[in-house]
């Protein structure tokens, strides 16, 4: 059973587990940060519904989930969050609800841009808050997507990982990468160097590229004391709009993906949640 009274008020600085310290102590090995970016915007009231609020039923008649997990007398937890629920119960997780930056317009794209850049004027920065922080901390990271999310841009040492599925194609070999290194300068040169480094370790890489497979891979890599300290996992397609649904529906499926990502990272890291 889930323990009651799990929603604790934890200051945001603790949520970002010691992250700024990494810059001060470059050789600190314990910190790991995984950011799961739910692109398009998760419905927070659906994920952690304030069931004790009298207006909830009338305001969200068509979006209400009936079979919520119980967090405390006021809040529930979406039934897709089974793993996350166990983590909450084991005191391994917390929820910071109804937080926002002071941007009140309703543009998806401006909002998302602010989430990633950490700067309140939309589209005013080419780097992300995480990328800048990693640069300060002198740590490399890994993004699990085809492109490099804005979130981690600003740090040159970012690898992306999203295994190719082009049938019949080969990993770029050393001769090709050496040739490309000889003709490139600047950012692109670094990209080829990172690729060459990846090539050395790619033999044991899984070919999975669903969010869960990527998350397990991230966890495994992050176990290595010299592995990446930061990972970003992007779960896209949260802009479900009119297709949000209730228990059955797109948004519930999306939340299940997130829940599986939590489990996969943990199993990748070799951690287990005690059974409650």
């Amino acid at each position: 059973m889930l323990r009651r009274d799990l929603l604790k008020a934890i200051p945001a600085s603790l949520f970002l587990t010691g992250f700024p310290n990494l810059g001060a102590t470059k050789d600190l090995k314990d910190g790991r940060l995984v950011v799961i970016n739910l692109e398009g915007g998760m419905d927070g009231i659906c994920a952690v519904p304030p069931l004790g609020d009298k207006s909830l039923r009338s305001a969200r008649r068509d979006l209400l989930i009936n079979e919520n997990l119980e967090l405390n007398p006021f809040f529930g937890l979406h039934p897709s969050f089974k793993n996350f629920g166990s983590m909450l119960a084991a005191n391994e997780a917390t929820i910071i609800h109804a937080t926002a930056f002071p941007y009140t317009k309703r543009s998806h794209f401006e909002g998302q841009n602010i989430v990633e850049t950490g700067i309140l004027t939309p589209f005013s920065s080419k780097t992300g808050w995480l990328g800048r922080a990693m640069e300060l901390a002198g740590v490399g990271g890994r993004s699990l997507s085809l492109d490099t999310p804005l979130l981690v841009r600003g740090n040159m040492d970012v690898e992306s990982y999203y295994p190719s599925n082009l049938r019949g194609s080969f990993l770029p070999n050393n001769a090709v990468l050496d040739a490309l290194k000889s003709i490139y300068e600047g950012d692109a040169l670094e990209t080829t160097e990172v690729l060459q480094r990846q090539l050395k370790t790619s033999r044991d890489s899984p070919r999975l590229r669903d969010p869960e497979g990527l998350a397990a891979f991230a966890g495994k890599k992050m176990q290595d004391p010299y592995g990446p300290k930061v990972a970003v996992i992007r779960v896209p397609e949260f802009d479900t709009h009119a297709n949000q649904g209730t228990e059955e529906g797109r948004h519930s499926e999306q939340l299940e993906i997130v829940d599986n990502v939590f489990r996969a990272i943990k199993s990748g890291l070799g951690l287990r949640t005690p059974v409650q």
Partner: protein, 480 residues
């Protein structure tokens, strides 16, 4: 500017459409005023011919297929089969009526073989500006949208293109306008106390109205507020009702510009100070007003110049394009002509979108690994004969993908990552290994690489395969 580079910058890249023309201005003008002829190859290694008529589908045919698919699906569901059997039958039914695989091959073949690559390149920009991604039925409609709205729209005004894009069933579905029903509409009134129940869901959905302002026309710089967005949604209510109470029983001919007064919101609306009357004609009043708005001209002039000339050049020179816009009342042919002329003048390099790069290197080398039109969907997929949609999605640049309405980025840094680079290297390798290149890589280097240093670096690579890949993935071919 080097002629080969000009050709790749404006879209030709490897096609000898320069023959017989005096100047680049002449070529641009000719292309902009000519139509596109769709070409393809029947099988891998086959010769280029006209795309076959039996693999083209008009909107009526597409809608008819959707209707048949839906009614067959209902019949399958009624059989109450075990889950796996039902799924199997659904899958067969889906394949029987789907045309998107053919569409994607037509798109890819066009990029490699069609006549008038300049116009196609312009169409990719607008297809992205008015993004429609996969959602519900749209995968079956995107090709019609691209050809009948975007490509045809290149010959008209921006105002016409805007109106046609917004009212196409693919857009109305993708941005949820099919669920946008006036709260005071005749439908809402007839629902009475049953409003809100499954058969009587009414209410505004402002998704299309919001993007119409933010992405398609004035942009947030215009300073509109939530009331403007709500009024846009009210104007749009009634557009896109392709269902009725019996499901899909409307005539396919109703789908081209689907308007239904029954779901529309009565009353005058106001957007950015413009008064908009009720009824079907209201939307055209709104889109014409937005099309002529100074913020639209500024936003789109900058955007199109960024795409074809580079971001820095765009921010310094967009007024030149606005001038043409004002003089010609938003005539896209004139706007495009000026854009491409400026593109030749601008020295800033532009990073090519992944599929644009695929198409160009296909034309430069004469190599191809994508199935011919007689091989689509068959079981003849040898490991090195590739489905067009796989390539587009592997490259992260598939116009049929599920994605956000702000479309693919024009910013180079959005496309730079180790994985993106890995895909380019792999694709170039596949072209060399299985694509039977007809052009010698050394002649491509001498014709298309401008920098003397790069030329000598590439030429000094001893192994041909490595030289081939390094050239196609070199900075001058990825960026022009």
């Amino acid at each position: 500017m080097n002629l080969a580079r000009i050709s790749r910058r404006i879209g030709l890249g490897g096609v000898d459409e320069f023959v017989g023309h005096n100047s680049s201005d002449d070529i641009i003008e000719t292309a902009i005023n000519a139509s596109v002829t769709f070409m393809g190859i029947p099988t891998i290694g086959g010769s280029i011919e006209k795309w076959p008529g039996d693999k083209e589908f008009d909107l009526n045919n597409r809608i008819q297929r959707l209707v048949s698919r839906r009614s067959n699906e209902d019949a399958i569901d009624k059989k109450k089969l075990p889950d796996n059997e039902r799924d199997k039958q659904r899958e067969v039914n889906w394949r029987k009526y789907s045309v998107d695989e053919i569409d994607k091959h037509r798109f890819f073949h066009a990029g490699q073989y069609a006549q008038n690559q300049i116009k196609l390149r312009l169409s990719y920009f607008w297809l992205n500006h008015f993004t429609v991604g996969s959602k519900e039925t749209t995968s079956q409609l995107i090709s019609d949208y691209w050809e009948q709205v975007i490509l045809k729209g290149l010959d008209g005004s921006f105002a016409d293109l805007l109106y046609d894009a917004i009212t196409h069933p693919a857009m109305l579905t993708y941005l949820d306008n099919i669920y946008n029903i006036g709260p005071n509409s005749p439908k809402a009134k007839s629902c009475g106390s049953s409003a809100g129940q499954a058969s009587c869901v009414v209410g505004l959905n402002d998704n299309l109205g919001r993007e119409l302002l933010e992405l398609h026309t004035v942009s947030p710089a215009a300073g509109y507020n939530e009331q403007d967005i709500t009024d846009c949604a009210k104007i749009l209510a009634g557009w896109g009702n392709i269902f009725d109470k019996n499901g899909w029983s409307k005539k396919p001919s109703d789908f081209r510009k689907p308007w239904d007064n029954y779901q529309s919101e009565p009353g005058t609306k106001r957007v950015l100070g413009q008064r908009v009357p009720s009824g079907k004609k209201g939307l055209r009043v709104l889109t014409d007003f937005l099309a002529d708005h100074e913020h639209t001209k500024k936003f789109i002039s900058k955007k199109i110049l960024t795409h074809f000339c580079g971001a820095q050049f765009a921010s310094l020179n967009y007024n030149e394009l606005i001038e043409v816009w004002n003089k010609t009342n938003g005539d896209l042919r004139q706007i495009h002509e000026k854009t491409l002329q400026l593109s030749i003048k601008a020295s800033e390099t532009i990073f090519l979108w992944p599929t644009t790069w695929c198409f160009q290197i296909g034309r430069l080398t004469g190599a191809n690994i994508v199935s011919g039109f007689n091989e689509i969907g068959g079981d003849n997929m040898r490991s090195h004969v590739v489905n067009a949609s796989w390539i587009m999605s592997e490259m992260g640049h598939d116009f049929w993908s599920e994605r956000q309405p702000n479309g693919f980025s024009d910013i180079k840094s959005d496309w730079i990552s180790t994985e993106h680079f890995d895909r380019r290297i792999r694709y170039a390798g596949l072209l060399f290994d299985y694509g039977r290149p007809s052009q010698n890589i050394d002649s491509i280097i001498s014709k298309h690489i401008v920098s003397a240093k790069l030329k000598s670096q590439l030429s000094s690579i001893s192994k041909e395969r490595t030289r081939f890949i390094a050239t196609l993935c070199s900075p001058e071919i990825l960026e022009v």
